[in-house]
Symmetry: C2
Subunit: 356 residues, 2 copies
DNA sequence: GTGAAAGCGCTAACAT
DNA sequence: ATGTTAGCGCTTTCAC
């Protein structure tokens, strides 16, 4: 709460002529000199230690105020070996789920007094991740969160420096790392079963990209649910998460009147499917039901409002930080393992019994 | 691979031994000892100085490799006074435009060899921003980007420490700071004029929150465009950027058959308006035209595909870093001022001439 | 081409 | 309650 008085640099320089050299941030030594104490005493004041005389503290505080002193975190980090910073490596910054997760991670970190160093990687390749991890290892971080749904992460063990705590979101590396993931399997099962329960003979599926671990699990669960119900399993249509890819597959599906139920692996692709249905003159849900995955904020404003699987990205982000801080505080006490965040189905207006 | 002895809890707890930090990162001194050189020579190798014997360099390099040496950025920063890090303060992490801007900022920074320290603030209040700036100003960053569309930023001058370069996105503080902004005025004019040109007698407007600087400019430009055309100016309907708020106003507007053209201040609110129109049985665009703002990725998959104003968030982010790095490199040479990134109208299927 | 010394700003440990 | 000393890991300066 350092309210800065309207002293600009020039004025301050004129008032305290001797010790303050221009162009350098004032150090503890400067404060100490001005207050007539040792820099150790300044350190005690800054760190709110109790053993400082009230009178002395006031003198130090006003000296700090006068020359605009701010602690140097680099020096502090050098001394303590702690940076109070967490590195986040992520691919696909602008995907809905990732940004919600990042938001929660950053907020939870801030609450714990940590900063976030963000390192987006352009491609989810082994090399890109390795480079990012290396950069972070040189950078001042106490731990790393990796948000990148890709099989690649099975092998990042070769790149993570010894002793640097890591938490991974959305991966199957739980055998070696601390992993936080949402319950993709249950979510996809709920979506598929919901459509079967409505009376559809089968459910078509627009999957995410093959490289995505989440997408793979949703697809596997969709297939297993159909099989368990004795329903035929249509061929998988692979999209790339974009509404455009959903639209392209939707055009094909809309032309087939036997298609009455579609489960898209995210909300954007579901949106694209619905657009294709509208254009083909097929009503959703009267002629064809559609279910998405994610429950993005706009999903209930789609036309029709989208039935979808809700993911609690906020909880995922919070858990990441919680697990990571635990590792940072006691590196030996925490083993690898996967934490699953539940999903649930949100039924809106895009699903109904099949026509006829 | 690093020289970590298998410390169990009990051994580590024994307090006779000095505080040996297991997992300590190897230092230059370690590398130097192993390679049989001085740490200064290691420093030269790390910094790729020319005056090192090829033979010596190889020995040092393999020693670095063997013990997994990584430079300590805190020490380097302490010595150099540079952090190669840029702080980003933002409110509304999960809004579409902010996220895209952040993505571009982070990518551009990474390309320039800078890291991003992200500080989301929960509320766009003066106090929150001041706290964030103060945290960043503890010399952990070389410059700050503030992404926060709010009038608050008119007054942040009291909180930014002298000499720390700052670039602000989306603000009217251009008189005192370096500001990068999109051409809100032109965008809103294009949207409004497009509807007038189609033959609508007037255009209704769903504005963003009053606190938003961008929203204010879009509203002002909408009003000015109507007045310039001699069209009546309907009352402003204020939303909060969410699709839900757009929907609520949409319900009201849909009930009024004289409403034939609506300009929403972002795409989400436009989506909500269209949902309300659909529910009321009014066709978009046959019965009522809708225009948005932002051109979010999904806009062309809305039903109907949304006519909207495209903002180049990527360019905004890139410019932020460019301007900031210039300030960092030569603090005195750069004055305040605003850089405007053009917007343009993307005409899709949600606009048409008025009915009848 | 290489090394020794000093010091960046801070704090833990030990004086006083 | 306050001061002194030493050193975190690195780089700059100056010796050799």
């Amino acid at each position: 709460m350092a309210t800065i008085s309207p002293t600009n640099g020039a004025t301050a320089g004129a008032r305290t002529s001797p010790p303050v050299r221009a162009g350098r941030q004032p150090s503890m030594a400067d404060v100490a000199a001005l207050a007539g104490v040792s820099s150790q005493t300044v350190s005690r004041v800054v760190n709110a230690r109790s053993n400082v005389d009230a009178d002395t503290r006031d003198r130090v505080l006003s000296a700090m105020d006068e020359i605009g002193y701010r602690p140097n975190s680099a020096a502090r980090a050098l001394k303590s070996g702690r940076f109070r910073t967490i590195g986040v490596i992520m691919f696909g910054l602008s995907s809905f789920g990732n940004m919600r997760t990042l938001d929660a991670v950053a907020t939870a970190a801030a609450e714990a007094g940590y900063s976030i160093t963000l390192l987006p990687v352009a491609l989810p390749t082994q090399g890109a991740v390795a480079g990012a991890v290396n950069r972070l290892a040189e950078q001042a971080v106490d731990g790393i969160v990796i948000i990148m749904e890709a099989h690649i992460l099975d092998r990042i063990d070769v790149t993570v420096p010894t002793g640097l705590p890591v938490v991974i979101v959305d991966s199957d590396a739980g055998a070696r790392y601390t992993v936080v993931d949402t319950d993709q399997t249950e979510g996809a099962r709920l979506a598929t079963q919901h459509l079967l329960d409505l009376g559809h003979t089968t459910v078509w599926h627009i999957a995410g990209p093959e490289s995505s671990f989440s997408a793979g699990r949703r697809t596997a669960s969709w297939r297993a649910t159909l099989k368990a119900a004795g329903a035929p399993v249509p061929p998988v249509l692979e999209g790339d998460w974009s509404a455009q890819s959903g639209y392209r597959h939707g055009v094909t599906l809309a032309a087939d009147p036997t298609v009455t139920a579609i489960f898209a692996s995210n909300d954007q692709m579901a949106l694209g499917v619905m657009r294709a249905m509208h254009e083909a003159g097929r009503s959703v849900p009267a002629s064809c039901s559609v279910v998405g995955f994610d429950d993005m904020r706009e999903a209930d404003a789609f036309w029709p409002p989208l039935t979808t699987v809700h993911q609690d990205f906020g909880q995922v982000g919070r858990l990441c930080i919680e697990k990571l801080l635990r590792q940072i505080d006691s590196p030996a006490a925490v083993g690898p393992g996967t934490t699953i965040v539940p999903t649930h189905l949100v039924v809106r207006a895009s699903t109904a019994p099949p026509p006829g």
